[in-house]
Symmetry: C2
Subunit: 330 residues, 2 copies
């Protein structure tokens, strides 16, 4: 008999990653290509269909059959309609019925999920969240995303198209301006965009007049990796920016732990490459801002699966949708 | 056959209220007396036992039998040990095994619960939360408390002795000093203590030099009711304080709605007497600070049961504990 397989995917502003995945989350095959979102939604779907067909072919070679596709997408998703409502990194996708179009091309059910949600399901299944019933997931990338795992399952709330959205919690109404127009969102402190903006502000304010970061800022080659590298070499501005990042996460998590009655969080995303630069300030801020938790009670783990969390998680959620298993991740 | 009855109670810093309650939350009889917490824990328990015995007698007269006692207490509770861990309004109770002592005196099981939790269960059962599966509860009194009702049940999180504690979420790190020692907690903006402190600050800072509030401040007779009354008469300072209160609640709820994926909240507590003074600024702030909810999606209701929410809720939770019904509130 053919074994059941899934295609899990992660559609980012830069790359689209796909994987052939077993219902248990084991990744059998992976592929990656540029998203080229400016080419338009129809073009993206065309290339995505090609990539999926290769995965289906791989599945047949492995003696199995792909039953469904799950795709993690950054932004607000209409899960029922399978459409991207609003994605800052995929502007040409806004309002596009991605699941329907791709599903028609593949003759397979396609499900859309938020990218931080698929991270959470993947880490819950196979990574840093394994065996922890309730935890808060945080993804630190271009923006800040998040999810809640409650009772071992992805929490959906009122199914409004968003959940676990920590990024635009205002944690300091007098803080830095966020891309969303508000002041002091967590994302304006704790994302790679916030790190880069911090350097730009220092250059524009005349506080940074020379050096690698100054140069990178002027040539448009500034990255959060470069800021991380400079912080490790002892650069004060870079260290301060990672310190602020940790401070803001500790403040936000302290409040959420008090409200949710929890003590576990898992943090993933590209900015975690600077883990050693922000985890100290994060724990200090968390302890300082927690009036309910005893010191040492909080456990903050780094995600263990990297990019594979989203691939395993999106496949798992697609499997739950077709098998009616109420989206348990365990 | 004798019908099953419960005793529900609310132990505040000023008054202790008790009620004889049916398992469905119907209140058959009520009593209230001064807590006199300074007389010490043993004295409080003695008077509480007398009050409970009267309720048990009332129950017999009604042809029923009190099966258990549930008590709502402000503060951090060790539910398993039945002890008050830390209660700012009941300082002589800290560490005291209240449930055990009272239970021994009455030969009945006694259960302690957080006061905001019993509010939530009461409103969920019979009040403003009826029929809404997921919502955030907020109590505005001397302090700010809260609870989460998820899937129609009181959410307990990791059972750490606190949950739904909105009061000490830091919503503005540059904001006013809170009694807990932190700056900018929700409680430092949205409690009756915060309203009174706002007036005191204006007097001490020389901005308020005359009038009823100035006088009340000097004679120690300042109350949040008086500030409410002055706000209704058009006093600018009082109106600003209620405006700040609404602003802070809107900010906090916007963040929590984004993270929990919800859109309903129920607000109770004594400060709700100024509902008309803060609900406008609250909704404005909520809309402004919500990047995920569409305008008009959020529903903020005022608690409907007043003091009876805690009495019905604490009885209901005691019933759930003895009948093993997993604390469902519905």
């Amino acid at each position: 008999m053919e074994s059941d397989l899934l295609i899990g995917g992660d559609i980012g502003g830069t790359h689209m990653r796909l994987a052939l995945v077993t219902p248990d989350g084991e990744i059998l095959h992976q592929s990656r290509e540029a998203t080229l979102v400016r080419a338009g939604a129809a073009d993206v779907v065309g290339r995505l269909a090609l990539q999926c067909r290769e995965m289906m072919e791989e599945g047949r070679r492995a003696g199995g059959r792909a039953r469904a596709v799950g795709l993690g997408v950054a932004g607000k998703i209409d899960r029922r309609a399978g459409a991207v409502l609003f994605s800052p990194n995929l502007p040409t996708m806004n309002g596009f019925p991605l699941a329907g179009e791709l599903g028609r091309a593949l003759v397979l059910p396609v499900f859309l999920e938020n990218d931080a949600d698929v991270f959470g399901v993947g880490e819950s299944l196979l990574g840093a969240g394994r065996g922890i019933p309730h935890w808060i997931g945080v993804t630190l990338g271009t923006g800040v995303g998040g999810c809640l795992i409650l009772g071992g399952k992805l929490w959906r709330g009122d199914d409004l198209g968003f959940c676990g959205e920590l990024g635009h919690m205002v944690i300091d109404p007098g803080g830095p301006l966020c891309a969303c127009g508000l002041r002091g969102c967590l994302e304006a402190h704790a994302s790679s965009s916030a790190l880069k903006q911090g350097v730009r502000d220092a250059v524009n304010g005349g506080r940074l007049r020379k050096g690698i970061l100054h140069e990178a800022c002027l040539t448009g080659e500034l990255t959060s990796e470069l800021i991380c590298q400079e912080a490790r070499l002892g650069d004060d501005l870079s260290r301060d920016l990672f310190h602020r990042l940790g401070w803001s996460l500790g403040l936000a998590l302290a409040g959420l732990f008090s409200v949710l009655g929890l003590r576990h969080a898992v943090i993933g995303g590209g900015v975690c490459s600077g883990w050693d630069l922000f985890i100290g300030p994060l724990m200090e801020s968390l302890t300082h801002h927690s009036s309910m938790l005893d010191p040492g009670q909080a456990v903050i783990r780094r995600g263990e699966l990297g990019d594979e969390a989203a691939l395993a998680g999106s496949a798992r959620l697609a499997w739950a949708r077709i098998s009616g298993s109420h989206e348990s991740t365990s």
